[in-house]
Each structure stands twice: as structure tokens, then as C-alpha cells.
């Protein structure tokens, strides 16, 4: 089976995207992606975080225009400059965060912006209710009343309201972005029933999900994106979980990662049955001196939450943390810091850096105790700390008095890293340490990690980038739904094995093999 299925699809697909390209400052989000969907088909979109799925959807739903390429509906090119254009072309999108008015009723939400009118442009409430009931009946939804207030509905029912809203606008192409992320199992079954009914009516459904089992349950075809490029389009019947995982993650690992062989020492961090609901569930792990432990998992699997629980931002409800063998009860970041724990957070702009402040002030922020005596800041010591940091991490700034927010992402990240290393920590937790920074700075941060580990620092690295996890880690842990579900040694770890554990398609993959 080849990746080209155009010959098998009917003459004109309902929706067709042709060689679409889109770049954002510093990032190439999509490079020449083509994709189509035919009447009565469920077409799944699959890819890692950052593969370009969201960008593709946003182009199709008119959030922003592509740089190059075109979108065709019924074989005719359409100009989707605004979301309203997409609506008129019959394209409706249901985002993860539902866009409803919680204070209004089901009927009002469905007909928001296109309510039936009586004379004098008054809203025709009778007609609105009748139409709502007709829509409900057409999808055989019996437990939803037109006059219920949306805020009182379950997530599953709210989603049904969104679907009805799309149908009330005669949508022929329905895009669903991870529709099952917040649903209970029962609601998922009901959602699938509705999707099948829509299919029977000739609606084309574009279905985005991380859950492979869902794709096998509902989709007809699946398109895999990777790094903004189209990798393959397959009939679901002709593929299996193992193949899809491989298609998704199948990059070759660049030899970019200078992993230095380090003798691994005593445990620095020992976590036992750590609990902080909902996203830290009975987590146990150990990180030793000189060891880099990679923590892989999908977005929302609870990795950052685990890190923040260890760091005291969201203190644990239950369980045990030991730092160099000592049992500790960490209740605040300040306490974690004094115990030798450092955390370089995921979101540099909001959690890591005080952007309007200077490089000097940012460098000393987590180490004020080191440059202050009796509460008074010694400016000379502070300047020296910042100056040393700038040199050690090769931060490219015009001076230590430059505003940190004006530096490039890579340099900002070096400052966040540097401010924590000024405290000489024993354990360094890195949350997506190289996200959104350029290749050069990335390599420098990797080199630095290697050096730090060689000096005996214990490093726990959260990363969504599998090559980074594989390249840097001595050991890889995989999280899913708040639990650690798999552990691989450096030798055992492969993209496929980690990817399968992340997706929870372990069993599927084995069955298929």
C-alpha cells in the first residue's frame, strides 16, 4: 500500500488542502502539507506535539491564512481569511476548550449569531426551540432539553451542544480537536455514535487524537504529520498501531547529543508513592548523582505537575521525598531551594524569567541570599555574580543591565539555567529545557547538561522531544495519566518503545506485531 490514495477517493474531495506552508518567526510550522477529506469519511490527523496539526486546523478554520498553498472546498479554491469565511464554506471546528456561553440556554448557544427572526428582526423563540428540538431528534439525543442552561451540563453534553451548533450552520466539514481528552468512557461511546451518524449524512469529520485505539475505532483514513511535513496517509484497515507510532516518531537520532560517560553516584532524589491529585498518582523514582533521567510523556501526562510537586510549588498530599537520603517535607520553592533543588520551568516567559527586569537582576533572583548581607544587596557582589554567569553560559547580551526579555529565547533560557546554578544545587529538574530555542543554543544547553552531570549533579529532564530524551538520558521514565508507566535503560530505549508507552498502545502494538 502506497501513501497515495487519491486514485481511490471519489473525483472531488469535499475538502482538499494543497501544499500548504506556514512559518512563524523562527519556526517552520508547516512545509508543503497536502491533505483531503471526502464525504462521509472520518479522517484522523496524527502527530507528536509540534508536528503541525494545530497549525493545519487553524488554517482550515480560517484563524490565520497559509503563507503558500490553497484550500479547496468541493474542488473550488476558497479564501479563508477569517473564521467567518470558514463557517460560510461549511467548515466548523470544535476545539478542546469549548467555546460556549455558560449562562445561556442550549438553544441560545446553538443559534448564537444566527437566530431565526420574526418580523421587526425580533428573535423568533418558538422557531428557535423547534429547530433545536429537531436537531436533537436528528441525532437521537433525548437527555438534553433546549432550555437547559449550558453551564449546568456535563462536559459530554456541552460538546454535543457544540456539535449541534455546527450542524445548525449546515457544516459539512467538522473538525474535532482531541474531542475525547476530557470525556468519560461513556461519553466517548456516545460521541462515536454521533460521529457515525454524521458520517452517514455525508459529513466529513477530521478527527485529531493522541489515542491510537480511538483512531482504530472510528477513523477511515489516517494522515501522519511530523515536523510540519506530511509523512503518510493510510487506510486505517491497512495499518496497525506499531506502524503509526513509527511513522509519528521515526526521525533518525542526530548525533548532536554529547553524552559523556559518567560514573553514577549515590541517590540524590528518592521519591516514593508521591501523590498530588489529579496528575501525580503514586509516583516513585530515583535520580542519582551524575545521572540524567529523562521523563517522557504526552502533554498533560503529569510531568510538569510532578516536577512542581517535588519543587514545592504544589506540595504533595502524600508520599515521601528524600534528598541525599534525608527525608524532607517540601512545602515551598524557597524550601526546595535551600535543600539544593533547582527547577527550570517549562514556560520561560511566565515562570522562569522576570522579563522586564535586567539580566543582572534575573541572575541574582534565586540567589539573593548569596549576594545580600543582612537583607542589603551588595551591588558589587551582584554584578560579579551576573558577570560570571554571562561568561560561563556565554549569554549574548550587550551588558548585564540589558532587559532580559529582549534577548533571544536561547539566551533567556541560559539565564534561567544560570540563575539556578548560582545556588550550586544538588538536583536539577529541567522542564522542556530546549523548547523553542535555536539549534545552536540547544546544543550548548545539552553540552552544559553533560558537564553538570559529570560534576556530580543529578538531573531530571522532562522533554517532549524524543531524540533529546534518547540522546541525553541515562535512563528514561515514561509518564501517562499521572503515573510512571514504563522505565527503560539507555540501551533499551527506542523511539518506538517510548512512543508506545506514552500513547498507552503497548498492548495494541504487541497484538499487531
Amino acid at each position: 500500500m502506497t501513501t497515495d490514495l487519491h486514485s481511490e477517493t471519489p473525483a472531488t474531495p469535499l475538502l482538499s488542502v494543497r501544499t500548504v506552508e506556514k512559518s512563524f518567526p523562527g519556526v517552520r510550522a508547516l512545509s508543503g502539507v497536502s491533505f483531503d477529506a471526502v464525504r462521509g469519511e472520518v479522517h484522523a490527523l496524527l502527530g507528536e506535539n509540534g508536528a503541525g496539526k494545530s497549525t493545519l486546523i487553524k488554517i482550515v478554520s480560517g484563524v490565520f491564512p497559509p503563507d503558500r498553498g490553497e484550500v479547496l472546498v468541493d474542488g473550488k479554491p476558497v479564501d479563508l481569511a477569517r473564521p467567518d469565511d470558514a463557517r460560510r464554506a461549511g467548515i466548523a471546528t470544535i476545539y478542546q476548550e469549548l467555546l460556549l456561553f455558560p449562562e445561556l440556554t442550549v438553544a441560545e448557544n446553538i443559534f448564537m449569531g444566527h437566530a431565526p427572526r420574526a418580523n421587526l428582526r425580533r428573535i423568533d423563540w418558538r422557531a428557535m426551540h423547534e429547530k433545536t428540538n429537531a436537531l436533537l431528534a436528528s441525532l437521537e439525543i433525548h437527555d438534553l432539553q433546549a432550555d437547559r442552561v449550558v453551564g449546568s451540563l456535563s462536559v459530554g453534553n456541552r460538546q454535543r451542544v457544540e456539535i449541534l451548533r455546527a450542524l445548525s450552520q449546515d457544516a459539512r466539514i467538522l473538525i474535532m480537536d482531541e474531542p475525547t481528552a476530557a470525556l468519560t468512557e461513556y461519553d466517548v461511546t456516545r460521541l462515536f455514535d454521533i460521529v457515525r451518524k454524521l458520517k452517514a449524512r455525508g459529513v466529513a469529520v477530521i478527527y485529531i487524537s493522541h489515542r491510537l485505539d480511538e483512531i482504530f475505532a472510528i477513523a477511515d483514513r489516517v494522515t501522519v504529520l511530523r515536523d510540519g511535513a506530511h509523512v503518510a496517509t493510510k487506510r486505517v484497515a491497512d495499518t496497525d498501531a506499531a506502524e503509526l507510532v513509527q511513522l509519528m516518531v521515526g526521525r533518525r537520532i542526530e548525533s548532536l547529543f554529547p553524552k559523556i560517560a559518567v560514573s553514577i553516584g549515590k541517590p540524590v532524589l528518592e521519591v516514593k508513592d508521591l501523590e498530588r491529585r489529579p496528575l501525580t498518582r503514586s509516583v516513585s523514582l530515583t535520580v542519582r548523582a551524575g545521572e540524567i533521567v529523562g521523563l517522557a510523556g504526552l502533554v498533560g501526562s503529569g510531568r510538569s505537575e510532578l516536577a512542581q510537586t517535588i519543587f514545592g510549588v504544589t506540595p504533595a498530599d502524600n508520599g515521601e521525598i528524600r534528598i541525599t537520603g534525608q527525608k524532607v517535607d517540601i512545602r515551598s520553592p524557597a524550601q526546595a531551594r535551600s535543600l539544593g533543588v533547582a527547577y527550570v520551568p517549562e514556560d520561560r516567559g511566565t515562570q522562569g524569567l522576570v522579563r522586564p527586569m535586567t539580566v543582572r537582576e534575573n541572575f541574582s533572583l534565586a540567589a539573593l541570599g548569596k549576594v545580600a548581607f543582612g537583607g542589603f544587596i551588595d551591588r558589587g557582589a551582584e554584578r560579579k555574580l551576573a558577570g560570571d554567569g554571562v561568561r560561563r553560559f556565554a549569554v549574548k547580551a550587550s551588558s548585564i543591565e540589558q532587559i532580559a526579555g529582549k534577548l533571544s529565547g536561547g539566551n533567556q533560557q541560559k539565564i534561567v539555567l544560570g540563575k539556578w546554578l548560582a545556588n550550586a544545587p544538588k538536583l536539577l529538574i529541567l522542564d522542556e529545557p530546549t523548547r523553542g530555542i535555536d539549534v545552536g543554543a540547544k546544543a550548548e544547553i545539552h553540552r552544559l547538561m553533560g558537564e553538570l552531570a559529570a560534576q556530580g549533579l543529578a538531573i531530571l529532564m522532562i522533554s517532549s522531544e524524543l531524540p533529546e530524551v534518547l540522546g541525553m538520558s541515562d535512563r528514561v521514565l515514561v509518564m501517562r495519566e499521572g503515573r510512571i508507566v514504563a522505565e527503560f535503560s539507555r540501551e533499551e530505549a527506542t523511539q518506538e518503545s517510548i512512543g508506545a508507552a506514552m500513547m498507552g498502545s503497548h498492548e495494541n502494538a504487541e497484538e499487531a506485531a
Binding site: T350, P356, L368, G369, A372, I377, N411, D438
Partner: protein
């Protein structure tokens, strides 16, 4: 994502200190002084200026912790009501409870601090926005003051008590010394200590401050408590100056205080501000009021002028901000 350092000093024609809000404001103040002095020969006299210092002390004492609070991105609207409550409790505990006056003063300062502490604890623990919390206590504390006083005023304090409000020390109004010392201490704390740095960090990015292990909640609790305490101190000075205690004392102070702080260049969004700016803002408002009154401008016209000055200074501040950010 270029790594090229920005051309930093290339565009700068005007020296940086001249572009600072405080400097600009001080220059405007100077011009206003000269013009008002020219229009009225009673304005630019040492006596008049010192007397204006006396009158501005009560607002000034509260403006210092308010600068701290606004730098963190917060606000305290209850200060005027705390002044009223403290003034009433000072008189009431002396007259009705029969406390010796020094003890009554301490008691009222303590109540002021407690009132601020309550604001702080609810803001940090329950995460009620400062605006909401202090609007609520603005009503609550004023209501308490009125309930306790039952519209009766307290007078007839012993002679020594009037020293702080009415006498001079080394030729300068006694309360002005209190204000000057407070200004110096507040300026050093804000500029030189880890506490001051923490205030700026909170105002610029509270999450990052927390993630850096700074004691965000403790610092907030301290500044709201300090704000209440200084309002109590202001109440003592006020009672001493006007020799009587009434429950409507300090009414509307919150607006005078916030106007002075914001006029002095402290950003209402937090992260930016200095004590020096607040001092210039205070001087500006008080001297404009006085100078205009002496020149024969009516009271309501004075308020119009002050409102206009506030708007203009905000425009200057935002254009400076844009310049700094290079947009």
C-alpha cells in the same frame, strides 16, 4: 531568533536620567513653582512651604507603603477608613476605656496594623483580588469607626500630645521630621534590600518570583500590614494637628494617596516605581493645591487642574514606556 546584541546606545540622544519619569516630573514641578511664585508673593516663602509640608504629612506617610503595594501590582483602598478607625479608637480608648494616652496611641497603631494584616491575610490566603478586598474593608472599617463613635467627637487632649501635629523641631514642623525619616527608610528598603527587589519581582512576574523561591506571600502580608500601621500613624498625626477626633477623618485619603503614587511614576500594573517619584508626586499635588488657592483659584477649579495634571503625567509615562521598549 538572532543572537546579535541589540544596538543599545545608538538611538540615545537624550541622557537616560532625563527620560526618567521622576526627573520629568521634578522639572514640571520646578516650572510650576516658579510660575505660582511669580503670580503670588506669599507662595514661595519658607513659612508657607513648611506649612504645606505639615499638611501633606498625613497623606505622605500612607503613600510610602502604598508605593510598595502598587509596585507589587496590588492596591489598598481601605487606608482612609483605617485612618478614621484608628483616630476614633485613639480618642475612644483614652476617653472611654480610660487608657493613658501613650497606651491609647499604641493601641490605635496596633489596630491599624491589624486592619492591614486582615487585608493581607485574605489577599494572600483566600486569593481575593486586593481591589475587592480593600473596597470591602473600606466600607467595613469606616462602618466600625462610625458605629464606635456614634457621631460623637473626642476633644481636650493633654497639651503634650499636640507637639507632633502643631509644633516645630529645629524650625521644621515636627511631623515633617517623621515623614522625612520614613521617606529615607522606605527609599533605602526599596532600592537596596532583598525585600525591595522582591517587590519589583512580584510586580513584574509573580509566578516567576514564586518559582525563584522568593517569599511572595510573606512579603505581601508585610506590606499590607505596614500600610495599615502607617495609616494608624497618620491618624495620630492628624488628630494631634486638628485637636479633635471624628469618624469621618481620613475620608477620601485613599484617592489622594494613590494619585500621588501614580503621579510619581509608579505603574498601576506593578513592577515600576520609586519612593522619589512618590515624594515628587506628593509635593506636586500639595503645592498645586496651595499655589492655586493662594492665586485665587476656587476649590473646584483646583481639582480640575489636578485631574488634568494626572492625565498628562500618565500620557508622558506611557510614551516614555513605549520609548524604553523601543516600539
Amino acid at each position: 531568533m538572532s543572537e546579535i546584541p541589540l544596538p543599545h546606545s545608538a538611538k540615545r540622544v537624550v541622557p537616560w536620567w532625563l527620560l526618567r519619569h521622576e526627573t520629568m516630573l521634578a522639572l514640571i514641578l520646578l516650572v510650576a513653582l516658579i510660575v505660582l511664585g511669580y503670580l503670588n508673593n506669599r507662595f514661595l516663602t519658607l513659612d508657607n512651604l513648611l506649612n504645606q509640608g505639615r499638611l501633606t504629612t498625613e497623606v505622605g506617610l500612607i503613600a510610602l507603603p502604598m508605593t510598595f503595594i502598587i509596585i507589587t501590582g496590588g492596591i489598598d483602598l481601605s487606608v482612609g477608613s483605617i485612618v478614621g478607625l484608628c483616630a476614633i479608637l485613639l480618642g475612644y480608648s483614652w476617653k472611654v476605656f480610660g487608657f493613658p494616652l501613650p497606651l491609647a496611641i499604641c493601641f490605635s497603631l496596633l489596630v491599624g496594623a491589624a486592619a492591614g494584616f486582615l487585608n493581607g491575610i485574605v489577599i494572600t490566603r483566600v486569593k481575593v483580588p486586593p481591589l475587592i478586598m480593600t473596597i470591602a474593608t473600606l466600607a467595613l472599617y469606616r462602618g466600625l469607626a462610625e458605629g464606635i463613635s456614634q457621631a460623637r467627637s473626642v476633644r481636650g487632649y493633654p497639651e503634650w500630645f499636640y507637639f507632633i501635629g502643631q509644633d516645630n523641631l529645629f524650625g521644621v514642623p515636627a511631623q515633617l521630621w517623621l515623614l522625612l525619616i520614613s521617606i529615607v527608610v522606605a527609599a533605602i528598603v526599596l532600592d537596596r534590600t532583598t525585600f525591595g527587589r522582591t517587590l519589583y519581582a512580584i510586580g513584574n512576574n509573580e509566578t516567576a518570583a514564586r518559582f525563584s523561591g522568593l517569599p511572595v506571600d510573606r512579603v505581601k502580608l508585610i506590606i499590607y500590614t505596614l500600610s495599615g500601621f502607617m495609616a494608624g500613624l497618620s491618624a495620630c498625626v492628624l488628630v494631634s494637628r486638628v485637636t479633635t477626633t471624628r469618624s469621618d477623618m481620613g475620608m477620601g485619603y485613599e484617592l489622594d494617596v494613590i494619585a500621588a503614587v501614580v503621579l510619581g511614576g509608579t505603574s498601576i500594573f506593578g513592577g515600576v516605581g520609586t519612593i522619589w517619584g512618590t515624594v515628587v508626586g506628593l509635593a506636586m499635588i500639595q503645592l498645586l493645591k496651595n499655589g492655586l488657592a493662594l492665586t485665587g483659584v476656587k476649590g473646584d477649579a483646583t481639582i480640575v487642574v489636578i485631574g488634568t495634571v494626572l492625565i498628562l503625567s500618565t500620557l508622558v509615562a506611557s510614551s516614555l514606556q513605549r520609548r524604553r521598549e523601543g516600539v
